[in-house]
Amino acid sequence: MNKPILLSRSNIFLFIIVLALIAFPFVMDSRTLTILVTQILIFGILAMSYDILLGYTGIVSFGHAMFFGIGAYCTAIMLNDFESTIFVFIGSIAVGMVIAGILSFIVGLLTLRLKSHFFAMLTMAISGLLLVVAEKWRSVTKGNDGFTFKAPEVFKDRIVFYLVVLALIVIVFIVLKRFVNSPLGRVLIAVRENEQRTKSLGFKTLYYKVIASVLAGVIASLAGSLYAVSLRFVNTAVLTMEITLDALLMTIIGGVGTLIGPLVGAVVIESAQHYLSGLARDFPIFERWIIFFGIIYILAVIFFPKGIVGTIQAKYFQWKDKKAQLNVVPLSKNKESSK
């Protein structure tokens, strides 16, 4: 009976955060901040998609950037080659998602039979292969130099684009939340915890892992499309290992298997990157900001071993259990009071 109350409380909390985020660009008149929060939201979408793999299915993929890159390139190429209208933008998102879905299906089917570390290595290799193809296929991708393109007219106002990204992250969150709470989501958690045991309950686990892989790939592609439009530029950096590592770190720092955790991770990592590198203007030592970033990561792992949200959740449930135990009246005391 406690869960629905908790859920409704957390829903109200999330609702307040969404309201605050809607109000944010109108209250804080800062273009830089709006762009930063837009980036955080876009990486939040990417990190949530990674959480479906890592947190809910137990799949460690080092090739998640390939789906992000597919989305980014589809949108950039279509907006560059066709008229840069909102319809082309929507169409490019759809095309990116379809291609990412097909590729993640094929990659999943070929690789998810392997044990976790072999799978991780193979995804890294396939992603690396895609990066090389993008580097060499200069007529389409312009290689590492990349190319700029025009975003749809409506996105000239950064606030409009911010609100679109905000709306999309809310939709993605609701869809993924429903997905992980569905019977299918439970099977994925079962696969993560004990694949053999899940098989012996009659589940063809490969099938479920491929579903998770396709969903994660499709959502990552959406994030890639939004990322390209936010920069109005794309190059092969969107396909590199750094993107996958960012998603991995956001998920681990925020808390795996929580969905909301990766969003918190995105806030921590994107803000740290932005502010630490910004400090270099006043303090030269921050030119090596990546060192401080490493320290933040180490501290986060020490103080939040289950990630920020995961650790807070665990402490909350511990506190609740303790409270429940304190409320139990010992039998002897009960007898005494009845005398």
């Binding site: 958690i189 098989k199 589940f203």
Partner: protein
């Protein structure tokens, strides 16, 4: 004469370079509790894993309901109606008791609801901790959850591996009572080190030693044969 449900014929199983099972013959009949007995490392658990397909046989055949299942994948074997309760219970720690059971139920219809009600009456503790995470249950509760989960999975035959392991005597009694009750609904293959428990609930026994079947018969024969018990189980 009861019908044969499961038959293992000259089963050989390798795990890596090790030849674990070197000729296991075994038969389980409908409505019976068939007990696999033997010393530690004799190959009892591997036999169960071979039946469910987790460590497939390299030679010999496993037949279930007159169907050869030797080379079938685990999920197909489970879908044919074989439920498996592993030694470590295999409870999904992050899922609640309810979710653990509902994952196994697959579909909710009148029959599955009836089965659920039946196991909850059999294990009232599960009802009490319905919303508790599987990982927070005690050893005995985990054992009950694992058995309940395998039962609601539409199993015609349950493979239960050492259900008494690590449990307090009072909990063992409860588990024993539950197995006796479940026997009315399904057939059971039981691996058990606790001879007292095995002798109380088993109808037939199969003795395994060094990966080979050495004796098979009615449980009462074994109870009366002190020499056999001493030689293969170190008791009596």
């Amino acid at each position: 004469m009861m019908e044969s449900l499961l038959k293992l014929d000259n089963i050989n199983t390798h795990i890596g370079q090790y030849h674990i099972l070197q000729g296991v013959h075994f038969e389980a009949k409908e409505g019976e509790v068939s007990v696999l007995l033997g010393r530690n490392g004799a190959g009892k658990t591997t036999t169960l894993k071979t039946i469910i397909g987790l460590t497939p046989a390299t030679a010999g055949s496993v037949t279930f309901l007159n169907q050869d299942i030797t080379k079938k994948p685990t999920y197909d074997i489970a879908n044919l109606g074989i439920g498996y309760v592993p030694e470590d219970q295999g409870v999904f720690a992050d899922l609640t008791v309810e979710e653990n059971i509902k994952v196994a139920m697959r579909k909710e219809n009148d029959e599955s609801k009836e089965k659920l009600e039946y196991v909850l009456n059999l294990f009232p503790d599960l009802k009490k901790f319905w919303k508790k995470a599987g990982g927070n249950l005690s050893g005995g509760q985990k054992q009950m959850l694992a058995m309940a989960r395998a039962f609601v999975n539409d199993s015609k035959l349950l493979l239960i591996d050492e259900p008494s392991k690590g449990l307090a005597p009072i909990v063992i009694e409860k588990v024993m009572e539950a197995i006796v009750e479940m026997k009315k609904q399904t057939s059971i293959v039981l691996v058990e080190q606790n001879f007292y428990m095995a002798s109380k609930i088993g109808d037939t026994f199969t003795l395994i030693d060094d990966g080979r079947t050495v004796r098979h018969g009615e449980m009462k024969e074994l109870i009366e044969d002190d020499e056999l018990k001493h030689k293969y189980l170190g008791i009596g």
